[in-house]
Symmetry: D2
């Protein structure tokens, strides 16, 4: 087995990267004296204030430990016992959270096939036929991912249209924002423009893939839902006892737009990689590059050669699709070296 240090820069995931120095500093500087546990501390208050600054006065931010946890806490707020979630069939909650939705929430995921990972208003409207029928799970929440699992982004107007379709039928809108920062950076807009202003009810804001050690937030925009979060967060195993160290990470990301700096850089590195692929024979893009993910279609032999040297995921082995991700610390040289190797492999 190759050890960590034997690999060049990983293109497998933005969570292969380490911690951004500013965030590590924030952790270290929170390490002074005592602080009440479980969030009754000044670092957590500061994060809560930051959340209101960034997402609007009605936003209540709650720090949690990981992305699946943020999704489960946020979704649990809006779901009863016989409910269903409408989501893309590529949604992380449907494919990569080990059945947490079914076991922890006890609800059905009504998954919808999509080309680009994005739901449209008509996707929602066409799945509501069972409402009122006691033999069927009742859809009450639409969950979308921004960035999607395919690296694409919803525009603010697209989110608003989905929100409207959901709300018109009495459903709420959840957003899995594990890479929300990358979306706002790509769209060149505020975080608020694609959450609060677009009609989202509850969303997660991911820190870990954007340079944090382990820090995500559940942000609640419907004030009737917020009082339940502390109970659900505790019960869902997402409450850190030494909370100050989680809150400090989130505050650091939300200070001086560090979130945007990190996300923009990662996005640029993905764009550089995609641009460089343009002239590689036999290699094409499976999806438009709108974040820090490049989905490339490769001949099997090329994929194999590269896989012997680089860490990355096969997304769809049959279709020859691989996923290459960049991170806040991916350098232009990392990308160019990788492109060199891709070109060599393709030429062979």
């Amino acid at each position: 087995m190759l050890t960590d240090s034997m690999y060049p820069k990983s293109f497998a995931s933005d969570n292969h990267a380490g911690v951004h120095p500013t965030i590590l500093e924030a952790i270290a500087s929170a390490n002074h004296g005592d602080a009440p546990a479980y969030g009754d501390d000044s670092w957590t208050s500061a994060f809560e204030d930051k959340a209101k600054e960034v997402f609007g006065a009605e936003a209540e931010g709650f720090a949690v430990l990981n992305g699946a946890g943020a999704n489960m806490v946020g979704l649990a707020l809006m779901l009863g016992r016989y409910d269903a979630i409408l989501c893309a069939d590529s949604a992380h909650i449907a494919t990569h959270e080990a059945g947490a939705s079914e076991r922890l929430l006890g609800v059905k995921l009504m998954t919808i096939p999509t080309e680009d990972g994005k739901l449209r208003p008509e996707d929602i409207k066409s799945r509501l036929g069972g409402i009122g029928n006691p033999h069927e799970s009742q859809p009450t929440v639409v969950s979308i991912s921004q960035v999607t699992e395919l690296g694409t982004c919803y525009s603010p107007a697209e989110i608003a249209a989905v929100a409207e379709a959901a709300h018109e039928s009495g459903l709420r809108l959840h957003m899995d924002g594990a890479r929300l920062a990358n979306a706002a950076a790509f769209l060149d807009c505020d975080l608020k423009a694609i959450t609060t202003d677009a009609g989202v009810d509850v969303f997660s804001f991911g820190g870990t893939k954007n340079g944090a050690l382990a820090a995500e937030a559940v942000v609640v925009l419907d004030p009737s839902l917020a009082p339940a979060v502390p109970f659900l967060r505790r019960q869902s195993l997402q409450l850190a006892s030494k909370m100050r160290f989680i809150s400090a990470q989130l505050s650091a990301l939300l200070t001086n737009d560090l979130w945007r700096e990190n996300a923009s850089h990662a996005n640029k590195m993905a764009a550089r990689l995609a641009d460089g692929l343009a002239d590689v024979p036999g290699v094409s893009l499976a999806h438009p590059v709108q974040s820090n993910a490049v989905f490339a279609v490769l001949p099997p032999a090329v994929a194999e050669t590269l896989g012997g040297r680089y860490l990355f995921h096969y997304w769809n082995e049959q279709a020859g699709i691989v996923r290459w991700m960049t991170a806040f610390d991916t350098t232009p040289e990392n990308v160019d070296d990788f492109l060199d190797d891709i070109r060599k492999a393709a030429a062979a």
Copy 2:
């Protein structure tokens, strides 16, 4: 409201303390380059090796995010759909995990009243009458806490006796070891002596209350159970993506017996506090001091005066019992200052 910095040293909980410098260093030094996510990294391998060193070759250690998470993952390994857990009625899983056992595991807690937080073999044997009766939840796991919620410790022989009683009846033994280090320090024994050698099947090893930022482990001694942990850990929202930073904390604690150094110090501070109380009129101990917790019985007025100045928990308001905890960073001066204030309050 008092802010963090307005308080003197907290006696509320060992999780009010910050991070031990060695552990913060371990985190910082893990922050070099990339590492595969979710535990496929060399820091995690190193922790797994340490776990075998400390707990025996059959021990499989799995890093998780918090204590309730460690309990839920560990217990889930051993429980079917109609099972019950036998535990003390003071057990953390029964009282302070927000019903996670019922919601996430779906099982009944058959709670047993105790004087000192410790189960005895006869407690187990007397609760097995419903075995085989399909109208009753079936006890399959005994869960004990070492240190108990009342600050007391089981001796190795006491654990072995409980393990034997459980095993004789086909039950498994789980140990909530959120403060396992404090127990081993008090008993002046190895961690292995009160886990592996005493017949425990699955236990948690707490790092956070012993100087870590956020790091606990589930340790599995029954090799037939270990293969399920990765799935249950992921589904239970306890899998860190940047795992190396969790593993590095656990390794640091298990290196050069840092765990013991921290725990011994905290225990000594509790003993110093308890010793100092001996001559305070009207103040007595509710339980023997066998770890870093002091349960004191106070006149209400004394408790009120102290509560205006110090952070600590009322354990049983009616009985006038308060809980004072010390941590790895509690100083003799902190204790002596506190004792001065206690004496003054008691004299008033």
Copy 3:
């Protein structure tokens, strides 16, 4: 093994009895032609009307298949994900429903020791200390049993007092009325007096132990809760497809006070048995006889002799308590024969 026919009349449970002839006739007479499934039939409408007649215009009755099912559907209406139920530690939901509350509802049962199976207002008030604490399950429902598991009855005033205590603290009141008919018969009051008029929010009304084949009802008095029943009933596996045959049983019981006739008779037989025990040396009553259950304290040898010939349950073997139940079809001769055998066994 003894076969069914080798036993004399069973005193083990009112569900050892068969079906009352009037109810069997009601089933047979519902067997004409087709009827829409799942309750869209005229027999079910008729039962729903009967329920309003008997329990008040606000009462919505829903037919289900068994008592545990009625409890789980009724309780699910009122419980969120981090909630707890306050109930007596002898409650059927706590002891004899195989952990359905924990698995199907995912909530904690906060059980309260009682002498007579009945909760008092102070039992409720003393268990509310954890409200608002995110580390603790939140009590939101009080569940009482009428008749209790110990055969005792709450007076209407006692129920009202419990309801008031619950409502004052924002909790709802559930009643397990598996033997509600026996309670109303003992108290010589309407069914409405101990449910609707006493402040109960949701209750079950048991038919099976009172002469039905298999028929219970969930009755909802809070109109905000009723719309969820069809979904929860279906999901909880309590929806009969050929519902007319369940509804017809419930209607038969509610017509011409058949419920009272059956329950009164069973109660009288229990009273006859209790009266007859008065002069049996060494035999005493463990609880007052207020329904169709007699809890007797017997010398072990007497219990053994009787157990060789009669079916009944040992309630508490250590304390020498047995439970003898009568049914709608227990005859005075059955009781007198049993008394003869008890006397003989006691004399031996």
Copy 4:
């Protein structure tokens, strides 16, 4: 609203029919004297013996209350906490059990699109890519329906092929046999040929749609699984207290092949209906008629005219597909009258 009696024979479902006279007699004749509750009675023993006669000596039959209940008990036997069920996307457990699989079992349904409601070996093999990946639910059970929701039947060889594919990969095979009798009648084989002999591990055998009042069975062929049934049945709210009346129904169906008589008749009526449709212009069959269901494609106006007079279900409104079902008590005249009305509507 039309009342029950205003409709002609229903073609909506076989559960619109009443109870077969022989089964009602069996219920009445079980109503003699007392019987131990919960299945410790001679009628239940008789049913258990019948189950062995019909399904083989290794078969353990357990009576339950309804079809969804039979599925949930049977599936729960074979599923752990992070498991998934592979099934057709038309499967009853996926579409019409109100999310019971997700809430009660806590598992993911990996649904597979099919043309005819039947899974093939390659459907199974192509869905096993996530095995061993802790981020994904682990498929451990394949569930097929015989008859399928589309009225089609698996041949014995087709079932055996699915069983082999499942077993080869370590999965178990469950069969939803709500209409198992109709399948055996159509295939002109024993019940054993399409269950025990074909490699099924656990299945349900439906009585209700075949003339019972309310009676289904869970049949377990893997002896290692049977001991858990009593606990899961009780906890899943599927245990009748007066079990003899459920067991008597099942025994009646299994005696003198009443199950086949009823199912054959219903199948013949469906065939008669399908045959009659052959010459109706504008009306065609959506699926081959292999049981007691006819799926017809109709012009909207024809469907509307018929819907004003007959009870039946629109299966797919957009595609103009309706479902017409026959029952044990559908007469040739019922079918011919219906055909007359269909012809008139089609001509209009």
